[in-house]
């Protein structure tokens, strides 16, 4: 069995502590913290000096102010949240495994300190260092160390300073604690008061079976808790990973190099942080606040999640070159979306394909060269309209291709946009056509092939296609696809057969 050892840190009156941590001028004065909407505000937390004045939680603002010399502060969820994150940051220096067990008015966390002896010495030494570290940061805490999770938690809640519970002596250490240390309902507490049971020691002395017969299965847990033998499944607290870096420039930046200089460092930090969590970066969002109060947003999405700094920087550089900001940049924020690292089994006999990260850079460069929408893979539309397709971004998905080898079919070389031509008709067939400066005599004409569609919309088409074998004056022969737009009664040269 793996030995366990827990250290519980308990910060009582946390709303007051969170506010007084940054107000050193009020530390030696009685302070109460109020919550609720005026005029029904009540004291929810107070410091030791205020307690000495006879104040308790639940009194109204009016009563607190009548006491005299009391400083009244309003409760702030933001301050408490930031104080909690600071406390967590301090305790995380002693153990990475922390479970938060805080309530509304106090903050508690339990550290799994098993195996830290070689780093921090015996548990007493660790507890003292932990206590002193938190005191330096402005928190008054109580610490309890025990082999049992619940014993450490209850002892820290109910006592002050540092308490070490030796192994096997949990029941004795908890015996003096009041029954209210257990999470009991008012009815159960009242019953125990009627029975004359005031401490956990007295509860532990009761026979378990009879207790369960009277209170149900919960009583078994109370009995175990009071004896310090209750088990617990430790659930370590994990802070949400937020990969974001922000930098505000002292002067607006117009030069791309200066922007990339900062961007390099930010990407380096982000990839390093992602790698620390065994993660990669699946996308980068770049948000630029511009001098003219507008914003410029870019997104980089590599084919596979990566932590390669140079590769990400190259993509950033290409994206900035393709979409530069319209004015000087005032602030730069780069946020990364974490993804799982790439896992790929390469085979000796696998077909040769481009390396994904290099392909990303190549496609980004090609887009910068010829245009964003002019690089990719063509996808045919579900339509009979001639030359109907759209472009999608190119990626290698590794799906097997279903089609089998076919005999060759004459390919078309499209003319985009189609060239208007003047056609001479002879006997209902085209006999010659003229385009720009050259004229062609049609030797053979095959057709017409009639196509039409979308009659219900503005994108309606109705055309006659003619396959013609034509020859110009210099003897050059071509197989052409002529199209007559029946809606506009226009002739166009659509394509060549090649």
């Amino acid at each position: 069995m793996i030995p366990t050892l827990y250290a519980c840190v308990h910060a009582a009156e946390f709303p007051a502590q969170a506010l007084l941590r940054l107000r050193t001028d009020l530390r030696l004065q009685p302070v109460v913290v109020l919550e609720g909407k005026p005029p029904q505000e009540i004291v929810c937390s107070l410091n030791r000096l205020a307690k000495r004045r006879g104040l308790v939680c639940g009194v109204t603002r009016h009563d607190a102010e009548e006491t005299g010399g009391i400083h009244v502060l309003a409760r702030s969820a933001e301050v408490e949240s930031s104080a909690a994150s600071v406390l967590l940051e301090y305790v995380s220096r002693f153990s990475p495994r922390i479970e938060v067990a805080s309530s509304n008015l106090s903050y508690s966390c339990v550290l799994d300190i098993a195996g830290t002896e070689r780093l921090f010495g015996p548990s007493k030494e660790l507890a003292e260092r932990l206590h002193s570290s938190l005191a330096d940061s402005g928190f008054r805490t109580s610490i309890a160390v025990s082999q049992n999770y619940h014993a450490a938690l209850m002892k820290a809640h109910a006592s002050r300073g540092i308490n070490l519970i030796p192994t096997g002596e949990e029941a004795g250490a908890l015996a003096d604690l009041p029954v209210s240390a257990l999470d009991l309902s008012e009815d159960h507490l009242e019953t125990f008061v009627l029975w004359g049971i005031a401490t956990l020691g007295e509860l532990a002395a009761l026979p378990e079976v009879e207790l369960v017969m009277r209170f149900g299965s919960d009583a078994r847990i109370w009995h175990e808790l009071s004896r310090g033998i209750a088990t617990h499944v430790f659930r370590p607290f994990e802070t949400a990973l937020r990969l974001e870096e922000t930098y505000e420039f002292e002067d607006p930046v117009e030069q791309m190099d200066s922007l990339l200089f900062i961007g390099t460092r930010m990407i380096e930090c982000l990839s390093h942080r992602a790698a620390n969590h065994m993660l990669s970066i699946s996308s980068l969002s770049i948000h630029m606040r511009l001098e003219d109060r507008s914003a410029h947003q870019l997104t980089i999405r590599p084919a596979l999640p990566t932590t390669d700094r140079k590769f990400l920087l190259k993509l950033l550089q290409l994206e900035l070159a393709a979409h530069p900001p319209q004015s000087a940049v005032v602030a730069l924020t780069i946020s990364a979306e974490p993804g799982m690292s790439r896992k790929m089994q390469l085979g000796l006999f696998a077909p040769q394909t481009p390396e994904p990260s290099r392909l990303d850079v190549t496609i980004a460069r090609l887009k910068a060269l010829v245009g964003e929408d002019r690089v990719g893979s063509a996808v045919l539309d579900d339509s009979h309209r001639p030359d109907s397709f759209h472009i999608e971004s190119f990626s290698i998905d590794g799906k097997p291709f279903a089609l089998q080898a076919t005999s060759p079919h004459i390919a078309l070389r499209r003319i985009r946009p189609a060239m208007p031509v003047r056609v001479v008709i002879h006997g209902s067939k085209p006999a010659a056509f003229r385009m720009e400066e050259s004229s062609f005599q049609i030797k053979e004409a095959y057709g017409p092939w009639r196509t039409s569609g979308c009659w219900w919309s503005t994108s309606q088409w109705d055309a006659e296609e003619w396959d013609v074998l034509a020859m110009n004056a210099s003897g050059e022969s071509r197989a052409c696809l002529l199209l007559r737009d029946c809606l506009r009664n226009e002739w166009r040269l659509e394509a060549y057969y090649d």
């Binding site: 077909p351 040769q352 394909t353 481009p354 390396e355 290099r358 392909l359 850079v361 190549t362 496609i363 460069r365 090609l366 060269l369 010829v370 245009g371 002019r374 690089v375 990719g376 893979s377 063509a378 996808v379 045919l380 030359d387 109907s388 397709f389 472009i391 190119f394 290698i396 998905d397 590794g398 799906k399 097997p400 291709f401 089609l403 089998q404 080898a405 076919t406 005999s407 060759p408 079919h409 004459i410 390919a411 078309l412 070389r413 499209r414 003319i415 985009r416 053979e444 095959y446 057709g447 396959d467 074998l469 050059e476 022969s477 071509r478 197989a479 394509a495 060549y496 057969y497 090649d498």
Partner: protein, 259 residues
Amino acid sequence: MPSAAAVRFEIEHALEHRFPSALTPSPQSIQEVIQTGIQEVDDRLGGIPVGAISELIGPSSSGRTTLAMSIAAQRTMSEQVCAWVDVDDAFDPQSAASNGVDLSRLLWVRCKNRPAQSRARANRSRPGPWARLDQALRATDLLLQSGGFAVIILDLGDISPEHGRRIPLATWFRFRQATDQARSSLVVLNKESYAQSSAALVLECAKNRAVISGGTVLSGIAFETDQQRQRFAPKVVSMRKPPRSTWTASPQWAAEKQE
């Protein structure tokens, strides 16, 4: 009397400082080839060389594009990746699909003339197809450097020879080196050969005749291919003019009918 081997050894030894192994034939390397997918052409050539430049030359309607699409179809069927660098934006995806090309494995780069930013710049910019040609050559360079593309088709099919001839020979030489290192096949569609000595294979394409059915329907075009240059062919001196490969391609509607 000394044997022939001894005489050869003596001559080679004497000429060793000027011509090493003067009388020993140089070993012939076996060139890796890929099939074009057209039986008649494969029977004649064996295939398109890997890691080299191949030029398909000929006028319009000579079957160059059909042959190039057939090559791309063969590679994409074997789950490899191809690229089509299109100078004139003439590539027809429907034709490619009917020829069996897996369009998801074909990277299509469509070159275009960029609009001039200002009048002064417009005056400075080169007229004609130079901008598109420059984009195509740069794109091909990038694709070759990227590696992993089994076939890269550089479509200069509609570029006039007076423009094509002005592509520097250094560019073709660089492409030749890059294809060799990347183990890619660079297939160039031209009106005439521009790569010259950098091309390992030059195939001249021509239209033979139209195939008509019923007098009203163009049911196919017969094409001819003639081998103009093949660097890796076995060095056998033929006393006869080599025969041309003749093959026929059917129109797209025939493919739809088969499906």
